[in-house]
């Protein structure tokens, strides 16, 4: 256990510069995770779920288009010289998660578009053969989707921003779990409304498990932040309180509701719907809280000096 940094600072001025990322990037991280995981679940449903999963597969493929359409738009809008967006694909730099992510998003976007287009034509025009095309394109799309769900954590951790940098592993687990929980919750909503209640319950069970994993990963991240002295520098700040709420109530409450709905069986639809909506809301709150907490930690010299102590070298987490 380590304490707050109590040494000198330079007139309390920031030692680091906060990232220029704000709500648009938080929203991107959220939608990318939701869409990527939805594509993964749709592909699994398609390959292993049989007839009953067909509706879920279709809706998962539509959901993947959310990230495909909104993702690049949000990212380009966030650039400070947006007309040069294509320079993102000028090189591939494996030391930069933003570079890796540009290729993940491009791959995901292209393959998801082929998948969704083939699904659309198969549904509307009755060209059933195109479902094979959809399936073939959806496999690389869901691999890219898994990457899309978690690379954003690597992007934030591979900076010098204290709140993000001290828990690279836990942050990736949190984002992966939250992405999967939100995707399962969104698909469960659709299933309860239009589809198969049994598939909905299985998605509920998946969301329930993912929320518990997210809660555990958040507790681990909290440990990383405490041990490195970053938590002490942020305690009581608004982003820290939002993060606590999103990681605490935002996971336990919907998990409890999902659990109740699973126990209630057919009578648990309303509980499941509330749980899904809560999961979707807390996923966005989590991303934005982490964004704000990171930027705030970069502004506070007590956070950056606490992190940059020799005892936190070379591996900053357990």
């Amino acid at each position: 256990m380590s304490d707050a940094y109590r040494g000198e600072t330079y007139y309390g001025r920031s030692q680091l510069k906060p990232s220029p990322f704000g709500f648009m990037v938080s929203l991107y991280i959220y939608l990318a995770g939701l869409s990527g995981s939805a594509q993964m679940l749709a592909t699994i449903g398609d390959l292993f779920g049989g007839r009953a999963a067909r509706g879920m597969v279709r809706r998962g493929r539509w959901l993947a288009m959310l990230g495909t359409v909104c993702g690049p738009a949000l990212l380009i809008a966030d650039l400070h010289t947006p007309q040069r967006f294509y320079n993102m694909l000028r090189i591939l730099r494996t030391s930069s998660p933003m570079s890796i992510g540009s290729y993940i998003l491009t791959t995901f976007g292209l393959t998801s578009t082929v998948t969704a287009a083939a699904q659309f034509l198969a549904d509307r025009c009755g060209w059933r053969r195109l479902l094979g095309v959809a399936r073939a394109a959806s496999v690389p799309a869901s691999v890219a989707g898994a990457g899309l769900s978690v690379y954003t954590a690597a992007l934030q951790s591979s900076t010098s921003t204290p709140h993000w940098a001290v828990s690279p592993r836990s942050l990736a687990m949190r984002y992966g779990a939250s992405s999967l929980a939100t995707a399962a919750a969104a698909l469960s909503l659709g299933e309860h409304r239009f589809g198969d209640p049994r598939t909905a319950r299985r998605l509920d069970a998946l969301a329930f498990g993912a929320l518990l994993v997210e809660w555990i990963a958040s507790a681990r991240a909290r440990g990383d932040l405490r041990r490195t002295g970053v938590a002490a520098a942020l305690s009581g700040s608004a982003p820290e309180r939002l993060e606590r709420a999103a990681a605490g109530w935002g996971t336990l409450l919907p998990a409890g509701l999902f659990g109740a709905s699973l126990l209630l069986g057919d009578r648990g639809r309303r509980a499941s719907r509330s749980a899904s909506l809560l999961t979707l809301a807390s996923g966005l709150a989590l991303r934005h809280a982490i964004m704000l907490a990171g930027n705030e930690s970069a502004r506070r010299p007590a956070a950056s000096f606490a992190m940059a102590q020799p005892r936190n070298l070379p591996h900053m987490e357990s």
Binding site: T9, F48, P314
Partner: protein, 298 residues
């Protein structure tokens, strides 16, 4: 420093143009591509005149950031920014009991002054984060942002462990010290070092500067300044966490934090692999769980 032998070739006080290899005359070093150049900033020689700040702004055509007073010290610049690539920090060491002024040491030596700048890291986190390749290592082993490629994504800003790089609101690109890349190409010493009246800022080849700095620390220790140490030289504070040495390194006499420097900065890109691997493993676990749950079908 000794006057270079070539100085005798130029007795006049006005020149028609740039002298060939002028840095040889002003800094005693001939600038050649393929070698490593940087700054040794000896803070014990800094008098806080800010000539470096002015010379930098003049040469690089940088606008003023703010023309107000910070009210905290003689430091009215505040911090490095997109438009400020040299920043002189001022720290007044008054630690009297009860908050009042303590006994003043002679020669105003209660003042610490340090001319800060981009460290031109050996393994630069800004460069490693840059997705467009706008940031690159020059033939002089310095780190520069190519303004015609940068698209203003801003990822280099949080990547920097020293809080150096910043996006300009004016042109939407990232900016920082170029170590006067244009001057180096022309054989000129960087503007800040050339303007420094006390040789607190010394420009030269890295190996040469490092041995010069080590000698200076010895000399200061001999004079009774036991607190003198190097920041950013190999194996010293600042050159930690796989960053390698810093091409712009410093001689300090107080804790790094006093000068707003991190004691043990790290290389951000070392976190890419653990984070991505954990994330993908998490997703693989969920995929297996989803197969088990969704796959039980008639």
């Amino acid at each position: 420093m000794q006057v270079h032998a070539r100085a005798r070739d130029y007795p006049q006080s006005q020149f028609g143009g740039v002298l060939p290899h002028e840095a040889e005359l002003t800094a005693g070093v001939r600038i050649q591509p393929g070698r490593s150049y940087g700054f040794f900033t000896d803070t014990t020689r800094c008098i806080g005149c800010k000539a470096c700040e002015v010379a930098c702004k003049e040469w690089n055509n940088l606008p003023a950031d703010n023309v107000g007073l910070t009210g905290m010290s003689y430091d009215n610049t505040g911090a490095l920014s997109a438009n400020t690539w040299r920043h002189v920090a001022f720290v007044e060491k008054i630690a009297g009991p009860g908050g009042g002024p303590a006994e003043m040491p002679p020669y105003q030596s209660q003042w610490l002054m340090m001319s800060d700048l981009c460290k031109h890291c050996h393994n630069p986190p800004c460069l490693e984060a840059c997705p467009t390749g706008a940031l690159f290592k020059t033939e002089f082993d310095t780190v520069v942002v190519q303004q015609d490629i940068c698209n203003g994504c801003g990822y280099c800003v949080p990547a920097c462990p020293f809080g150096v790089v910043e996006l300009s609101e004016t042109d939407g690109k990232a900016h920082k010290c170029t170590l006067c890349y244009d001057r180096l190409k022309g054989g000129l010493e960087p503007a800040c070092a050339k303007s420094c009246p006390t040789d607190s800022i010394q420009f030269g080849e890295i190996a040469d500067l490092q041995s010069r700095a080590a000698e200076r620390v010895e000399q200061l220790h001999g004079l009774g300044v036991a607190s003198a140490y190097l920041y950013g030289a190999p194996g010293s504070p600042g050159a930690t966490g796989d960053l390698g040495h810093l091409n712009a390194f410093f001689l300090l006499t107080d804790a790094p934090e006093v000068y707003n420097l991190p004691r043990a900065p790290t290389r951000a890109s070392n976190r890419v692999r653990p984070s991505l691997a954990t994330g993908l493993a998490t997703m693989a676990g969920f995929a297996l769980a989803a197969i088990a749950l969704l796959g039980r079908r008639a």
